[in-house]
Symmetry: C2
């Protein structure tokens, strides 16, 4: 049952994902997706009979697998809370290429009222991410509500860091956000006013 093909499933999804993350879902034409993968349009349809939408879904599922392996599982694993958050920041830094790559969960999501084809997948992934972080915060001693709020805030900070990096045309904001993640989830802030 070996795969003789030109690209291989993982590589294929990675290239499609990279294109979506670069130009957005609506911005990505089949011509671009074809060029990015090295497969002609008809070949893409052979692999994804439901077309672009199926590509989006499978790319999202692949991102979900990455999230589980590189974020959720490590967060539930060994080490102190702080160590785990720091390790996670490192993973995110690689995944988003210091902020140069956008997030699919941002680019594929639909307005609040309208139900897009990716919405449940996106919601599930974000929810799982927040829950995993909240568990770490609880373990560190925060109440469930406080832990949940901090977790949510951390995810918002990551997403916002990516938006800011794009908007300002610099990876710095994202890098700074990443370095703040342990503090953001686990506390120790200094105040003045």
């Amino acid at each position: 049952m070996a795969r003789k093909a030109s690209v291989g499933n993982e590589d294929l999804l990675a290239r499609l994902g990279a294109t979506f993350r670069r130009v957005g879902y609506d911005g990505a034409s089949l011509a671009q997706l074809s060029e990015a993968t090295g497969l002609k349009k008809a070949s893409l349809y052979h692999r994804f009979p439901d077309g672009k939408e199926q590509m989006g879904l499978e790319v999202l599922q692949e991102a979900g697998r990455w999230l589980t392996r590189h974020v959720l599982e490590p967060l539930a694993g060994e080490g102190s809370p702080r160590e785990r958050i720091t390790a996670m920041a490192s993973e995110l830094d690689v995944f988003y290429q210091n902020g140069k790559q956008a997030c699919l969960l941002n680019l594929l999501s639909s307005p609040i009222g309208i139900a897009g084809p990716f919405q449940t997948a996106i919601r599930d992934m974000l929810e799982a991410f927040v829950a995993a972080l909240a568990a770490v915060a609880e373990e560190a001693g925060f109440t469930p509500t406080e832990a949940r709020e901090r977790a949510e805030r951390l995810v918002a900070l990551v997403q916002g860091g990516l938006v800011l990096a794009r908007g300002l045309g610099s990876t710095d904001p994202f890098t700074r956000v990443l370095s703040r993640l342990p503090t953001e989830l686990l506390g120790t802030d200094t105040a003045i006013a």
Copy 2:
């Protein structure tokens, strides 16, 4: 020189902007923009000879004027730092409709390497926003670098809150983020771990 027309410039830009914020720039077809404004395609081209791109630019400029009037000027105005940030949060809540409306600066921005037609406008607006917040933080006693970082973080938090609200399909994350803005910029956090 009175305008006899059906919509009026401000209303027109508002409707175009609402469409962009709902479905994104690439996702917005001229057919949709036509329907949203009540103007036929040819009429839109009469008003915007350079087409969709010009619409995007002018909508962005209109957003810039809103930002100046409702955020930048109040931030530089009367009241304690905390009062000004709270007032700003209130303005943002209205503008983004509790998180139901996305942000143009997110939807129109291009990847870090690539220079899109809106990039400088977006960068300028984000930069001005951060700068105005940093000034408030400095006034509250933070060092310039610390103030700048806090300002940047606040903007990231707002953007991320919008992304999260969309992704989770709920306005709650955005509302919670807004309520945290004073603390986020001016400090007073409690720690455990």
